[in-house]
């Protein structure tokens, strides 16, 4: 059960608050906390995210297992927002703690890149005159 106390996965329609997620990965043993926030930029009216939620949770859990095999990490949190995300708000936050900074810095970059390739979450961009589903460049494909 140790794993469930050290890994935090959430897909939610609520706003993401960086400090709350940093607090999840704080640990007396960890001298470093590294974070990544993905934010909606201003070329769109809003974004709408949807997910195959149970599989997305399973994939995130699997990439956390992978990242832990690459670097020695203390705690890992991956929170992704779903539904409508207005411009300027945060769509994803990743926070990782480790004893020294090198591991958590590398892990955060690897986690966001891998999440964007593999996790079944989709983003629809809504413009003033229409909408389109986006595709991440390295998105896992046939």
């Amino acid at each position: 059960m140790e794993k469930t106390e050290k890994d935090f996965i959430k897909l939610t329609s609520d706003p993401l608050i960086l400090q709350d997620i940093v607090d999840l990965v704080k640990d007396d043993q960890a001298g470093a906390i590294s974070t990544f926030c993905g934010t909606t930029h201003k070329t769109v009216v809003r974004l709408e995210y949807e997910s195959y939620i149970p599989m997305a949770e399973k994939e995130i859990s699997s990439i956390i297992t992978d990242v832990r095999s690459k670097w020695e990490l203390t705690k890992v949190a991956v929170h992704h927002r779903l539904g409508i995300v207005p411009v300027g708000e945060t769509s994803v936050i990743i926070a990782v703690s480790s004893v020294h900074r090198n591991e958590s810095l590398k892990a955060v970059e690897w986690l966001i890149n891998t999440l964007k390739e593999k996790v079944p979450i989709w983003k629809k961009e809504i413009y003033y005159d229409g909408s389109s589903w986006k595709e991440n460049t390295k998105s896992k494909c046939c």
């Binding site: 993905g38 995210y49 149970p54 994803v92 593999k118 989709w122 595709e135």
Partner: protein, 89 residues
């Protein structure tokens, strides 16, 4: 005995056919479907899906499968998902 599986459509796949899920019967002549059989069956049911399927992954019971693996079969009770290119983050 019913020989049905569930299929889930997401994002562009769902928008193309306006269906998010359906239950499909495996043809009476077989006990399971290869991924090529599945692709043919879906293309026949939904012509708007043809292009999207070419660029999509399949997941069976929440596990990505290799579309070229001829040994993978869809069996009764499976949950199959059409996964268009993802765009999380």
């Amino acid at each position: 005995m019913s020989k049905e599986f569930t299929i889930l459509y997401f994002a562009s796949a769902r928008d193309a056919i306006n269906i998010s899920s359906e239950i499909i019967s495996i043809p009476a002549t077989s006990s399971s479907l290869s991924l090529q059989d599945l692709t043919n069956l879906l293309n026949n049911r939904h012509e708007n899906l043809v292009k999207i399927l070419e660029n999509s992954m399949f997941a069976i019971n929440m596990q990505y499968v290799d579309k070229d693996d001829e040994s993978i079969m869809v069996k009764p009770g499976d949950e199959v998902a059409i996964i268009p290119p993802v765009s999380g983050g």
